[in-house]
Symmetry: C2
Subunit: 361 residues, 2 copies
């Protein structure tokens, strides 16, 4: 088992990564603050892991919410169902929420915990690669609005993240690929050595080799934790974590939530960011090709949706959270592992890069 700590002063918390952790009562219960526990999961994950988790909670007052599965349900309406269960169970401020599932379950459970009685404790038990490497670190929680993704939410840190790598064996191949996209992101942001490791070990990762998984998840979490610790509220460098996300959110919103997986959209978004970087003369085309090759080996989509023009992207990106004072800001690259934030790219150049990518991608 690997373990690391996200260092946020009084809000610091541990992440445990390894096989079989979902059965480890000794790891879980020290982080439950009271006697009341609400487990939030979805209809896909519940049949696989809910009973095993509940078996650890003997002696607690436990209630369960099983949500429908999919990004399209990450809404205020679904959130209300969690509040209804909390209130029907008469759970008070001492309750601990446990998110058992992927990023959608984690984001919603975290926001429910942030908002219920103005803030209660929560624990993440992520069961997808994407949520293990990404949404479990950093405390971003929230729901979508039909006019924009993740527009409603809070920063709220968990007490504990328990990432059982065995749960990845039941993932659909598309979900695995989507998670690998976020893993690749950490190499691109500021860890070129990890990018090379991924080029050398992508086969093992896609084959769910236990050691490769644990290494990739641990390194991704450590890379992310270092960035988050330096900028918890995203006033500066934390925005680097949005590499690929401005383009990716546009794809998700434009295609309708649930059509593209978040990680798939981010993968294509990173390639678009690389394309723009190359067109600006900041990145070599050979590096764009290395990125494209790695994404291809992770079985990720390599083209923006055919019916989304550059102009449509710009329109959707105008409501993105990365907008400051009306100016679009992008995370681009000066090379693999050398990302930076810029507001100096004209919208027309972005649109042209996307349109070019449609033709050549």
């Amino acid at each position: 088992m690997k373990s690391l700590t996200v260092d946020l002063g009084s809000r610091s918390y541990p992440i445990y990564i390894g096989p079989g952790l979902i059965d480890r009562r000794d790891l879980l219960t020290p982080h439950i603050t009271g006697k009341q526990v609400l487990v939030v999961t979805n209809e896909t994950v519940a049949p696989l892991y809910l009973d095993r988790l509940l078996a650890l909670l003997n002696g607690y007052q436990v209630a369960t919410v099983v949500l429908p599965d999919g990004e399209q349900f990450k809404t205020l309406e679904t959130l209300d169902a969690i509040f209804t269960q909390l209130l029907t169970s008469r759970f008070d401020r001492g309750v601990t929420l446990i998110a058992l599932g992927g990023g959608v379950v984690g984001d919603m459970t975290g926001f429910a915990a942030a908002s219920y009685q103005r803030g209660v404790a929560f624990i993440q038990v992520p069961t997808t690669l994407l949520s293990q490497v990404d949404s479990s670190v950093g405390g971003k929680t929230g729901v979508n609005h039909r006019l924009g993704k993740n527009m409603i939410g809070a920063f709220h840190q968990p007490q504990l993240v328990l990432a059982d790598t065995d749960t990845l064996r039941t993932l659909e191949p598309r979900q695995l690929s989507a998670g690998v996209a976020e893993v690749i992101k950490y190499g691109l942001i500021n860890d070129p050595e990890f990018f090379v490791w991924l080029e050398q070990n992508m086969h093992a990762l896609m084959a769910l080799d236990g050691d490769a998984l644990a290494y990739a998840i641990g390194r991704s979490c450590a890379d992310k934790a270092a960035i988050v610790a330096s900028d918890e509220r995203e006033s500066g460098q934390r925005a680097l974590l949005n590499l690929g996300h401005t383009f990716g959110h546009a794809i998700e919103t434009g295609m309708g939530y649930g059509e593209w997986l978040h990680g798939e959209a981010v993968g294509t978004g990173m390639l678009l960011a690389a394309e723009v970087s190359a067109r600006m003369g900041w990145m070599g085309t050979n590096e764009v090709e290395r990125i494209r090759d790695l994404l291809a080996r992770a079985k990720l989509p390599l083209k923006a949706p055919a019916d989304m023009s550059g102009a449509r992207f710009l329109d959707l990106m105008a409501v993105d959270k990365k907008v400051h004072a009306g100016k679009l800001r992008f995370v681009l690259m000066r090379g693999i592992g050398q990302s930076f934030i810029t507001g100096e790219v004209a919208p027309e150049q972005i649109a042209a890069a996307i349109d070019a990518h449609h033709e050549v991608g």
Copy 2:
């Protein structure tokens, strides 16, 4: 004009109190963080003050949301309307929300600001006595759930509170009385000298005497600010501010939001707290009578709703946020200005006090 500062470190903010402040651009605009402003108000307040506020915002990019008026609209659904306007206006993280109205508008606008893009700035322009003395200090924001009041929310501090005492001249008498209930609360919590001042000046206050209003609002805000500064997240002494609220919330929930005004319910709740305190032998009956007399002079209701039994109160109070580990905690009094928190009163004693009050009240 009076001014005071709520001292919360980096989240400190000023409160200005006095006549004509709603026309003071010099007080307002230094606290607007960017160029985008969303004004949130309701259909009662909008015809009275919206144009005057908008006249100060020349040069800003301004949008407006006019909500229906009433506690029954303090819901996630109404909140969604605020988010829709923010997104339709394409407002980014630099937006400032301005709450123009009473406590409901302030609570919802504050929670929208806490949640939009995980947190943006907001300013309170409270136009009721209750919101000027209570909800504008302390950063509590949120909405109701049909199963419990203020169950969904966040702590989020405003940049500024601008309390124009002239706006109280358009208040309905019931709304004025409801605000006076919260003013009396500060005397009861820990300021017996202020309680005596209120006994001597209630007539001036109810007649909207400008000096009396400014004094009472300023002293209430200062009393509250001192408590909040010592315990921002309500881990201890801040709970004293809930004097009368555990009973009051039960009345509001039991009768249906909007039937009793919040301040009316709190007024009766304080009297019930005094009754329980007297029955426990902690408070003299002469002090209960002084409280009852002062509430009567403020034209507040003095009886719990006839169809709400002690058992019904207990049932509703069981979901209150003041519950800890399944145990009901109450703010009671050892005398006027000597409130304290206790979990040592048996539910049966509470129910008996309420039932007795029905008979004698």
